[in-house]
Subunit: 238 residues, 2 copies
């Protein structure tokens, strides 16, 4: 909801918070008037110019702040979730060697990462509303910036899947495609999560299933079906 206290001038932060608020409640960024924004922030219209050249610059500043806050925590959580199944510094077994364990680890990471992500969404709904809105919005600059954000997220995810061996090995391209799809879907679902607070648990489950399906299906499609079936079989009979 609110932006972090930082070295930003007070007026700048006030403007950014006002933009988040107005964007969420009424209009998209580029439909916002400078004076309206200043009014909401309780400042003189001209103050805007002290900090931003135009609305794109404002948008970029907001985007930058928010992404800086969640990107690293997400990566760390993936590691922690993985380590909760297999202690740190244990050499990670290949999927051939121990499919069952790897599946358990992947499931755990999946569940916890989804949860953290949605937690962050719930704490910063306005930022996500702005992000998703401007991802498809009228400003090419913000569109580009947000696409890069999602691209970074997807790359992080692909790296982590690789390092933590969260699915059987795949070509880098295919892995990235999957990560991209998952990222996109998570952002989409975050809107549902915000708008339908009473369905939050179901949305979590839906997201987990979506991710599991995508990853499993992709594994099957790339010839790792047998391994996967083995892991599932052992899982059920154990």
């Amino acid at each position: 909801m609110s932006l972090p206290k930082s070295v930003l001038a007070q007026g700048k932060r006030l403007l950014m918070e006002a933009a988040l608020k107005l964007n969420a409640s009424t209009r998209s960024l580029n439909a916002l008037s400078l004076r309206e924004l200043a009014r909401e922030a309780g400042l003189n219209p001209n103050t805007f110019y002290r900090h931003f050249k135009d609305f794109d610059e404002l948008g970029l500043a907001i985007i930058e702040e928010m992404t800086g806050q969640i990107r690293q925590p997400l990566r760390e959580l993936r590691r922690k979730a993985a380590e909760s199944v297999v202690p740190a510094h244990t050499p990670i077994a290949s999927w051939q060697e121990n499919p069952r364990l790897n599946l358990a680890r992947a499931t755990q990471v999946n569940r916890e990462t989804v949860k953290l992500f949605f937690d962050y969404v719930a704490e910063n709904p306005n930022a996500f509303i702005l992000g998703i809105r401007e991802l498809h919005g009228a400003s090419p600059i913000l569109r580009r910036a947000l696409r890069k954000v999602m691209d970074d997220f997807a790359r992080d995810m692909a790296d982590d899947i690789n390092e933590l061996k969260l699915m059987p090995e795949l070509s880098q391209d295919s892995l990235y495609d999957i990560s991209e799809t998952i990222t996109r879907e998570m952002f989409q679902l975050s809107m549902e999560y915000i708008e339908q607070p009473e369905r939050q648990e179901q949305i979590c489950i839906k997201a987990e299933k979506m991710i599991t399906s995508l990853i499993m299906g992709s594994a099957v499609l790339h010839g790792h079906g047998a391994i996967l079936m083995g892991a599932l079989q052992m899982d059920q009979t154990s």
Copy 2:
């Protein structure tokens, strides 16, 4: 691109086309001014009031027209694609009986449906830009309307998957979830398709793989892994 000739008053169509054009090139609908729109359409500002109460009404009119155009063709194409593998009126075998044939049919339907959808996107880029933009836009009315559109698409898809047995049997809820995800992703990908004309083939393939992965993974997740593996095995050795 252009809206269909119909019984609409000329001015009304002119306004709708102008809205599509401006929306795609510069601003989102709710950032559009009435006079700007009228100027683009070559009409007097007041003419707007003769046809629409406000911009939401304009948006709804556009959305209604566009969806009326693609919904039925998509369903029919799914049937045609299915029939190109198995002649019409042939009783459809269950997945247990003939997994290989069913997989082939599903693959064919997948490919052709994706193609048709993207063809339609290429012919009406501005409509899709508007649709995707307003799906996450500031107007709750348009958001709701577009969500219903996507919901209808997903339901159609689920029905067709059921009727044409395009994947092993699943609970209705799970099937709908998958259809919903696929629909959402297809709309997302349509933006890429529009913006990156040189990558259209790759995007088609990406979409097909995404759909296949999702469906296969979901099948595995619901205990149909063995059947699927059988179909794939036979597919490779034939």
